[in-house]
Symmetry: C2
Subunit: 416 residues, 2 copies
């Protein structure tokens, strides 16, 4: 271990989650404890905030408000989707990053995101090393998609999965109140990996889940889907509840959501917006002549902090705190990952994963966990996912509404 | 007061809510206490269950499961949309009702629903009186629309309003994470009355709400809407969050959701489904050339029992219990209503309302409470609505998911 004195910089990147700020709280509250750390900064809108030198001095924030970040959804510092070019192709951004890091004496950089963010960490790390600028860089994982390699699961997934499973149970009850036929199609996030839609199977585990679940890991056949619907309808009095991943694709590799092309226009000639559920709803309505309700969990599934998993929130916080501890211990060029400890009781250990492992891969739902008849997921999936949604993530309220963190220095919100 | 010995019958009607079963629990648990009451029955799918003699003996249910009804969303007995003809026009249904009531010695009938259900109560009551069949009939109000006359507010509204306000705050944070322009249009239930969309203003009260709110109480102008969006976008870096009632109508009285007529077809020629938010999303995308995300709170807003208002749940329970007490005290032909007691602290008193008052009217949001520039609702609305969402409606869990009531005798679900 070597003592490296300097400032911490933390940034958030990619789509937010219900617990992404718990990781921020973990980084901030841990970093503020250590003498080697001379200052703690947050970058507004991730890499962009670094390039534009929009750094927030976290030391000036109230500690209680930083604690409240644990239950405040959606990137408090603002997020960004910005892909760094290779340094060999264009050094401009890298030079600017080195300039800002030098100015603020940034010696610890933590970046919170998914595959792309780990790639960003990796590139910055290599560049700074090539310039002999000592900086320890650790990635903090985050994604409701749960598709990062090198970790048992990702912070953000458990809470989104808890939202999906709970809401599915509630929807099951709601969609069964009338004794008339109706098909409900619920669209769940997941472009290439079906982990989150798979979480609907947790509602099945409690007897109140969808009859059918479709993940992007398997080719989606519209004809097969209609057959499945008819089969369930015949058995269940015309009532069908189906869950689909947004990223389901047909035999030709075309996204079902893309069927809704720019040819979809209403009677006034306006474009129609909608995803795969809206498309399939239209097809069912046309072909099966039955009442259909498409539902999208939309942004709610990734920001419903009021129903966060306590397990997920704690792990997200610890992922941030561990990143700081690992860096102080001399590690760099890694991502914090979770390893599940074998045994009857759920337990994880934190571990370090090479950035390169997560930067260039996507972890998908094992095909062996998906029932071939689209009726859901196997017990292996339930055993995998159930521990991740345990515990009600409590949140402070004020006037019957969530009391989210109020930070003084952050100008990232659109209205400032 | 006169002691009338006989059985209780209870039914649920119309769209469900998060707390509709709390009223059922109120009726059941109160009724089971009294000696005059010889049996307690639930009708499956409301009036239809009476006509088909599908009655459930509630006395055989486990008391603990009946308690769990308080936190179980969506009509546990099953619901129905069935409008009784006038007895003068067709007596068939009424004769059947009298037959079933006589067979089971039903002397107390409680019906839980909205305007139509109160009309049903009224008609049955008049018919039974005309046949000299003594039966005390009390309506129990229920609707997320909050549009019943004769009561300060309706059970079900507070919980749906809490869902809307909380989710709006979460969405506000989510939709502001990127510093790129985006318009988000959120569609909220309410066909003719805008109470539920108005609840989005509670999020504004906490500083994290929509920039624009449109209720069906005012004529909706698409041109005005686009101007409002442009105005807010210019001030807020291109970021706009708008809330609309599903029932907004244009100058000619046409529902905006109907713009999405059967002419809306995708590139495969399939019908496109979607409501007013999808329609307006398309218009914004076409006319303003900006990224748009339409979001529908869909069924979630009326079944999200995990975020029920404790105040609403308790009032819903008491509305059921009070119906029984009022009937035992000799009242009939009434609905249980809430009167708000004047004073600095929120307090309600229960009262009886003539069925005819609620059967034929809709209560709308006062125009004076709606800001003319569509920026939201006035302080008078906040003072009205805020007390209704107070308290976190706790719910028992099992495996990290809600533990809903499991009733032995109820076959109402579609899959039985």
């Amino acid at each position: 271990m070597s003592a490296l004195k300097g400032a911490v910089l933390f940034g958030q990147s990619g789509g937010p989650t219900s617990v992404i700020n718990a990781s921020a709280a973990g980084v901030f509250l841990e970093a503020l404890k250590h003498e080697e750390i001379t200052a703690v900064y947050g970058a507004e809108h991730g890499i962009k905030g670094i390039l534009e030198e929009k750094l927030v001095d976290i030391g000036q924030e109230d500690r209680h408000e930083l604690e409240l970040l644990k239950s405040t959804p959606s990137s408090a510092l603002g997020s960004v989707r910005y892909k760094l070019k290779k340094a060999e192709e264009n050094e401009t951004d890298y030079k600017r990053i080195l300039e800002v890091f030098t100015k603020y004496n940034i010696r610890y950089f933590f970046y919170n995101g998914g595959n792309d963010s780990m790639d960003t960490c990796n590139k910055i790390s290599k560049y700074l090393q090539s310039k002999n600028y000592e900086c320890r860089i650790i990635g903090v994982p985050k994604t409701v998609d749960n598709d990062l390699m090198g970790t048992d699961h990702c912070p953000g997934y458990g809470s989104a999965a808890k939202y999906v499973a709970t809401t599915m149970m509630e929807l099951y009850l709601d969609t069964h109140v009338y004794n008339t036929p109706m098909v409900t199609v619920v669209e769940i996030m997941g472009r290439n990996a079906g982990w989150l839609a798979a979480a609907a199977a947790l509602a099945n585990y409690k007897g109140l889940g969808p009859d059918l679940i479709y993940l992007p890991e398997r080719v989606f056949s519209v004809e097969g889907f209609l057959e499945d619907i008819k089969r369930v309808a015949a058995r269940k009095n015309g009532k069908v509840l189906a869950a689909i991943s947004e990223g389901i694709k047909d035999e030709r590799g075309r996204y079902i959501s893309e069927y809704n092309s720019d040819l979809a226009r209403d009677s006034f000639g306006h474009a129609q917006l909608g995803g795969a559920a809206a498309v399939l709803g239209g097809i069912i309505s046309d072909q099966l002549n039955v009442k259909v309700r498409p539902i999208e969990f939309s942004l709610m599934q990734r920001c419903a902090a009021h129903i966060a998993s306590a397990t997920d929130r704690e792990e997200a916080f610890m992922a941030g705190a561990m990143a700081v501890r690992y860096a102080l211990a001399g590690n760099t060029d890694k991502m914090v990952g979770f390893a599940r400890v074998a045994g009857p009781k759920y337990k994880i250990e934190y571990q370090l994963v090479d950035l390169a492992v997560t930067a260039n891969a996507e972890k998908k739902v094992p095909l062996a966990w998906i029932n071939p008849d689209n009726s859901g997921l196997t017990d292996d999936f339930i055993a995998y996912a159930l521990p991740l949604i345990q515990g009600e993530g409590e949140y402070p309220t004020e006037d019957g509404l969530p009391r989210f963190a109020r930070l003084k220095k952050i100008r990232a919100k659109g209205d400032k």
